[in-house]
């Protein structure tokens, strides 16, 4: 009788419980089991992927990790602003005593990247970067709101693994979980441009990314100007390749506004001005 009563009560209350705003009954099993701690695990697996990118040569919390603040696997995609400082090859420091000196023969002891052939520098095996993918996938499953996981995964999928369809799927999954993310849109644009060679779609997606970024508050724009610089310079190159030089120059001007190396961009603008003539001034009309 008691069992039937409890079962009936649970069935009656189930819809109300699921409709509650903080209910953990929604979502997948990982969400229910781990709760908010899943983000901790997601971060751990993201770092794990970077450790795999270095074939295990990675600083622990006791080592100097100033050169690993930004994951190198993300940095090497060219779409992430690096916060790394210091010596990435020497985070272990000098040998502290004979035990430390002896022990260095028993774990990875020099810096390498998987996309460059790993510790044995076998460039022919640069597709070994595939080994980071399981951890990135797990990280994305645990924390679907982390944009960088999708962009990094997609980059290596198409760049080294030549799995363009899979990269496309990852980015679209990212857009479902993080709607309107300019980082993901930028990476999607790169996929259309470099892999599908579909310049029009790439342009549309990059311009959408630029619009999304431009809708941020000034404080938010200050946090990540690097991505806008990347979007603008890619659009500039696209327009230049399409022969639309004025538009290209305007995009370079937009990039220069947010760049930390405006002089380098000025060189590009000057080059285009040279082609267009002295009267053209793109700085009068930057797009964003």
């Amino acid at each position: 009788m008691l069992f039937i009563f409890c079962f009936g009560l649970a069935a009656k209350l189930q819809p109300q419980f699921q409709a509650m705003p903080l209910s953990r009954a929604k979502g997948d099993i990982l969400n229910v089991v781990l709760g908010d701690s899943r983000r901790l695990f997601a971060n751990e697996f993201y770092v794990k992927a970077d450790a795999y990118y270095h074939s295990g040569y990675y600083p622990t919390m006791f080592d100097d990790n100033a050169a690993f603040k930004t994951a190198h696997m993300a940095e090497d995609t060219g779409a992430v602003n690096s916060k790394n400082k210091g010596d990435e090859a020497g985070f272990l420091g000098p040998k502290r005593n004979w035990i430390d000196a002896f022990s260095r023969h028993f774990y990875p002891d020099h810096h390498s990247h998987l996309d460059e052939g790993g510790p044995t520098d076998e460039l022919g095996k640069s597709d070994q970067v595939r080994e980071i993918l399981p951890w990135l996938k797990l990280s994305a499953d645990l924390d679907p709101d982390n944009v960088q996981t999708y962009t990094v995964t997609a980059f290596w999928l198409r760049e080294r693994m030549h799995k363009v369809a899979e990269a496309d799927a990852v980015l679209h999954e990212g857009l479902r979980n993080c709607p309107g993310s300019y980082d993901i849109l930028f990476e999607l644009g790169r996929l259309y441009d470099e892999s599908y060679h579909d310049k029009d779609r790439a342009r549309n997606v990059w311009e959408e990314a630029a619009r999304r970024w431009n809708n941020l508050s000034p404080a938010e724009k200050q946090e990540n100007p690097f991505i806008m610089e990347q979007i603008a310079t890619h659009l500039a190159k696209l327009e230049e390749d399409a022969g639309n030089l004025p538009r290209a120059a305007e995009w370079f001007a937009t990039a220069q506004k947010v760049s930390r190396t405006p002089d380098a961009i000025q060189v590009q603008i000057n080059r285009l001005k040279g082609k267009l003539g002295e009267d053209f001034n793109p700085l009068m009309k930057p797009l964003y």
């Binding site: 295990g56 006791f62 502290r96 035990i99 028993f106 774990y107 990875p108 080994e131």
Partner: protein, 258 residues
């Protein structure tokens, strides 16, 4: 030596007649096969995550066997009163301790071999290669590390009253050394005296089990460890095994057996 091998033989028989090893082995196989069946971006060549999971399970299983098997040897002999008829034979206490150690260590070795054969087969399905020398180095280092753990657990079984408390303490100590042993000297520098001296002394006194954890080298296909350092590591392990076994013999000599 005859007596030592006789005692060791009984310990090995006990291990393969108990369910512990089979349960751990089957669980390892099942988890690895489930992980291997996961589709990761339609790429069948991804191997390292599988190697890592398999090696992690192998390490956990081997530590369970290496700690719990010696932990129950002498206490079980006392509880089951099999110790008295054994010591009533022309068998010294030293031979008994060494025999128990050898039996547990050899049993761990056999178990380890089974685990690593499975590991080799699993990684070969993805990587299509068998770096035998690398596996040899990894297995030997792992086995010798387990020798230190077995000796430590055997000593603990004579010092602590219950096998469960001995096992718990051993797991904590071994886990602590594996995770932070390498960094104790760095931790010491952040502390004030006299704790700094104590931690620093501990750093030099403890057996550095993490030396023998070469999983990263195996997983990421690093080149072989230079043979000189490999042999020195084995000698290092033998030294600690001798120390712990000597301690165990000295404690057991004074212990009442009835």
């Amino acid at each position: 030596m005859r007596n030592i091998f006789a005692v060791a033989g009984v310990v090995i028989k006990e291990l393969y007649r108990r369910k512990d090893f089979y349960v751990l082995f089957i669980v390892t196989i099942l988890i690895c096969l489930v992980m291997a069946s996961v589709n990761i971006f339609n790429d069948a060549k991804i191997a390292r995550y599988l190697k890592e999971i398999c090696l992690l399970l192998v390490w956990v299983s081997s530590l369970i066997i290496a700690i719990t098997t010696p932990a129950r040897q002498i206490p079980a002999e006392r509880e089951n009163r099999t110790l008295l008829p054994l010591l009533a034979k022309p068998l010294t206490r030293l031979e008994l301790i060494v025999g128990k150690f050898l039996g547990c260590w050899l049993a761990c070795g056999v178990a380890l071999l089974c685990f690593y054969i499975f590991f080799g087969a699993l990684s070969a399905t993805r990587e299509h290669e068998w770096p035998l020398l690398q596996y040899f180095q990894a297995v030997m280092l792992h086995w010798f590390m387990l020798g230190i753990v077995v000796a430590l657990s055997l000593l603990g079984s004579l010092v602590f009253a219950a096998p469960s408390s001995n096992s718990t303490i051993c797991f904590v100590v071994v886990g602590g050394i594996l995770f932070v042993g390498r960094h104790l000297d760095q931790i010491a520098l952040t502390l004030k005296e006299p704790v700094r001296t104590i931690v620093y002394s501990l750093y030099f006194a403890i057996p550095h089990l993490e030396l023998f954890d070469v999983r990263d080298l195996v997983i990421h296909n690093w080149p072989l460890i230079p043979w000189t350092y490999f042999c020195l590591a084995l000698l290092y392990a033998l030294a600690y095994m001798t120390v712990f076994l000597t301690g165990a013999c000295l404690v057991f000599r004074r212990k009442a057996v009835n």
